[in-house]
Subunit: 162 residues, 2 copies
DNA sequence: ATAGATGCAAATATTTTGCCGCCAG
DNA sequence: CTGGCGGCAAAATATTTGCATCTAT
């Protein structure tokens, strides 16, 4: 059996830690991308998010910090970050409609495991997953730059109570 | 135009292993779900599709068979099929905007491997993937009912020519 | 006969675009 | 200074819903 790591939050520099000053912000600076006031705010929201947010939620939080930020800017910034591979875009199997969710891209890929009944989403890392990606690279002659896995099912709790 | 839609597999990999037409129709009948004229058409389109279609494309094809079918019915039917686990919903990493694509759910899960440059999508099956899902079920106490993996990268061809 | 489907139109939701003034570098 | 960025409004897409009517079973 391969080694497993469930919900590991301390592999090196996992993000989403309030105390750490903008991991994302640094990344952008490194790439000499213009850092505007609005971008700073969106980055801050992403860096501090402890769960997956959709564009609307990101806008909400951003406006609490700086009410001037508009929806359009949020979309444009998300697009920027996405194209630089700094955030991932998920839809969590469309559990709650056709929204898209965003999370800052950690150092290691993880799988999103969602309960179709209670909606809880759990993150899962596995050596097996890394192996699978290597296999794909070899067998398909591919250089993988993004990988996304989303799994839906019923958690123990929901099976018992329903 | 006749309904001679032959299943062409562009990636060299086998796609829908259910060679018999009307696999979906049967499934619905088995579940004693009302089979209307419109549903038959949408099912036929899905069964004969050789590539992933979005809602608009499904509507187009359906209307070629029966012009009376409306967009709304397509959405409602897709929803029905989705909730019965008979089709999968993908977004192919939003390679071409935020559309959603649908494919009839074969007997075995496969991974979608897309080239971010040329856009070619290949399907990939692996025992490793099956193991990974088992691992998730065990470690998370989950009963998995849907699993979706989409991978993006650059294929050999594009790396060489780019 | 009747629960459930469809069609139509309109409402929602979500994301993108054109244009112009403004600001970070 | 200046080219990229943000704001505004409106457009383009995408999806859902209310309601009257029709139909598969």
């Amino acid at each position: 059996m391969a080694q497993t790591a469930v919900r590991r939050v301390s592999t090196g520099e996992r993000i989403n830690v309030h105390d750490k000053p903008g991991q994302l912000q640094k990344q952008l600076a490194n790439r000499s991308i213009r850092l505007t006031r609005q971008r700073r705010v969106v980055l801050q929201v992403m860096d501090n998010a402890s769960r997956h947010l959709d564009a609307g939620e990101i806008l909400e939080r951003a406006q609490k910090i700086d009410p001037q930020i508009t929806r359009v800017t949020v979309y444009r910034t998300l697009d920027l970050l996405k194209h630089h591979g700094l955030i991932d875009e998920l839809d969590l199997l469309h559990l709650r409609g056709h929204r898209h969710y965003y999370e800052s891209h950690g150092p290691r890929d993880h799988i999103h495991v969602a309960c179709l009944r209670c909606g809880k989403v759990r993150e899962f890392e596995s050596e097996l997953y890394e192996q699978l990606k290597k296999q794909i690279e070899q067998d398909c002659g591919m250089e993988i730059s993004v990988a996304r896995t989303e799994v839906g099912g019923y958690c123990k709790n929901c099976r018992d109570s329903g």
